[in-house]
């Protein structure tokens, strides 16, 4: 008995029909996770005892004909969501021993929906990275080829879903951290509109960009999990008070007449030819389904990456100022004085990439540079958002590649930060504009998954999920499983 290839939707139905118990599922998942750790390293913490207790509770609810929409379904959480009483590390030595005193809203809501937490998933340190190589707990490896990275920062989430260790996982996306690893691992991921999912209890990186979402096997599963996560939360002052539609309803609606824009800037010289071929084939599928395609140009898009690498580090340097070695987190030994305590605790607790981003942010916010970099980047951010607004006056959805290439080798891009940053060249703009975006598997190049990116206007999650679902009814890329995990 394993979760094998069953989706969240199938598992929830089987649990409700009492074809399988949650305890059976959890007992099947745990040894598989354990066995995968040496090769994939997808988990930072496995919460076996707690999972079994939650599964027993879910089984009792189901036996009594009760239980939420996800009753008994095992899932994983990115180790950036606070989990009460369970270590929450954010992939950092700084929080190696941090036990969250409360649950993130996302965690509490999924628990209320009946989901069972199997553990906390590995990630780039403080979500800063595109390859999962910056994790203090070691890199995650790509289930399709363990010499390759799974992408990042939600690399553990994408690898765990790809290897069918969990049917779905929560994840977060600040510049592509859901979509890029989903593309690299051949799974489906959605980053909702900024403000759609509560950030309460989500360890902050860049607060005007961070957004929680889902990585799963299918768009239908993303809809199913997102439905239980999303919605207004008074504890997050940027949470938006707009009702959450039933993402599952209308998933089958036809795509006839839907206008899809191809972003010219996303089909640039950096895009691998075979990757592009698969993306264009995917677009042809949408055309066959009745959608109308047109090409669009958003001239400010190429400035997304430099604008992001001002805004995100600036916000990071402010957010990470809280790690002072006093109230929680790592503290150095024998500090001489308070400044020494701050400096050595932070230097020992943070890895090189986090330090680099803190310093970049400190620089762009410092006297004499604030206008030239920070305010300038915020102005460019508005130009990028305005480009999208104009585009969505003409089309319903934008589509293009998620990444310029398939997954790369461990160590291949870690020497130069700019090379690494440019991985997110197609994903970053949606964060700057706060737009919902997905990555959907749409082919393979040399045995490695290719991702189709779908971007929509604010709060159009349902439209994205519907388009992705219709595509997945026509194709089976999302159902492929790495041989070693089958």
């Amino acid at each position: 008995m394993t979760i094998d290839r069953r989706t969240v939707t199938q598992l929830a139905a089987d649990l409700r029909a009492r074809k399988v118990s949650s305890v059976e599922l959890v007992r099947a998942c745990l040894p598989r996770i354990e066995a995968s750790q040496s090769s994939l390293n997808a988990f930072v913490t496995v919460t076996a005892e707690q999972a079994l207790a939650q599964a027993q509770a879910a089984d009792r609810e189901l036996a009594a004909g009760r239980g939420g929409p996800l009753a008994g379904v095992p899932i994983g959480h990115k180790d950036l969501f606070c989990t009460a009483g369970v270590r929450t590390t954010c992939g950092s030595r700084m929080l190696e021993n941090f036990v969250a005193p409360y649950d993130a809203t996302v965690v509490a809501r999924l628990q209320a929906a009946g989901a069972v937490m199997l553990g906390k998933l590995n990630m780039d340190e403080f979500a800063m990275g595109s390859s999962n190589e910056t994790s203090y707990f070691g890199p995650v490896r790509n289930p399709w080829n363990t010499d390759l990275v799974p992408g990042g920062s939600s690399g553990g989430c994408a690898a765990a879903v790809a290897a069918r260790l969990v049917p779905a996982a929560t994840a977060t996306d600040t510049g592509g951290s859901i979509r890029q690893p989903a593309a690299f691992c051949g799974v489906t991921g959605i980053k909702p509109t900024y403000g759609r999912v509560s950030r309460y209890g989500m360890i902050a990186f860049a607060s005007s960009l961070d957004q929680g979402g889902v990585i799963a096997q299918t768009a239908e599963d993303c809809a199913c999990v997102l439905r239980s996560m999303a919605g207004f939360d008074p504890r997050d002052s940027t949470s938006v008070d707009i009702p959450v539609p039933d993402y599952l309803a209308g998933l089958d609606a036809p795509l006839a007449g839907v206008r899809i824009g191809l972003l010219k800037e996303f089909f640039d010289t950096g895009l691998e030819a075979d990757y592009e071929r698969h993306v264009r084939e995917a677009l042809a599928v949408f055309e066959r389904l009745g959608a109308r395609l047109c090409e669009l140009s958003l001239p400010n898009i190429p400035r997304s990456v430099p604008a992001y690498y001002v805004v995100a580090p600036a916000e990071c340097s402010s957010n990470l100022a809280r790690y002072d070695g006093v109230r929680f987190g790592h503290r150095c030994r024998n500090p001489r004085d308070l400044t020494d305590l701050y400096k050595r605790s932070r230097s020992e607790g943070f890895g090189a990439e986090v330090k680099r981003r803190i310093m970049t942010g400190t620089y762009v916010l410092s006297a004499g540079y604030y206008d030239a970099y920070y305010l300038k980047a915020q102005r460019v951010r508005r130009l990028i958002a305005a480009d999208f607004e104009r585009a969505f006056a003409e089309v319903d959805l934008l589509m293009g590649p998620t990444t310029p290439t398939t997954a790369f080798a461990l160590g291949a891009k870690s020497a130069d930060p700019i090379t690494m940053y440019l991985n997110d060249i197609y994903t970053i703009s949606a964060n700057l504009a706060g737009l919902p975006a997905m990555s959907v598997p749409c082919g393979f190049v040399g045995g490695l998954p290719v991702g189709l990116q779908i971007i929509g206007p604010h709060f159009a999650e349902q439209r994205l999920l519907q388009a992705a679902h219709r595509f997945q009814l026509e194709t089976d890329w999302h159902a492929r499983v790495p041989e070693r995990c089958a």
Binding site: V99, P101, Y194, G195, S208, L209, P234, S237, T238, V240, R303, P306, A307, Y309, V310, S317, G325, V326, R327, F328, G329, H330, R331, P335, D337, L338, T339, D340, R344, R346, S347, F350, A352, K355, R356, I358, M359, T360, T362, Y363, S366, Y373, L375, K376, A377, Q378, R379, V380, R381, R382, L383, A385, D416, P417, I418, Y421, N431, L432, A433, G434
Partner: protein, 96 residues
């Protein structure tokens, strides 16, 4: 624009980071690369464009009533502190 070693040390101090002298050249080089890269923004024509701090247009910052809504979780929160005594956080002596 290349950052000098003194500039990198200055930034590290502002950020309350202590860099190992052996690591300094690496940060000097990578931060200079980043500053060059983001310097490209200078060429964007942003005349008359207001800075954008929040991605959702037209949504004002929400306020709440000034009421106590949380319980005192002092002990729970201090369980994560590196050093506490009598409910206080301990730090090296600040005033001689």
């Amino acid at each position: 624009m290349a950052l000098t070693r003194a500039q990198v040390e200055g930034i590290a101090h502002l950020a309350r980071l202590e860099l190992d002298p052996a690591e300094l050249p690496q940060y000097e080089q990578s931060l200079s690369r980043i500053v060059d890269f983001i310097g490209e923004l200078e060429r964007a024509n942003t005349a008359g464009v207001a800075p954008m701090a929040h991605p959702l247009p037209g949504l004002a910052q929400r306020l709440r009533a000034d009421e106590v809504t949380e319980r005192d979780e002092h002990d729970l929160y201090q369980r994560n502190a590196p050093a506490v005594a009598s409910g206080l956080y301990l730090v090296p002596k600040v005033i001689e």
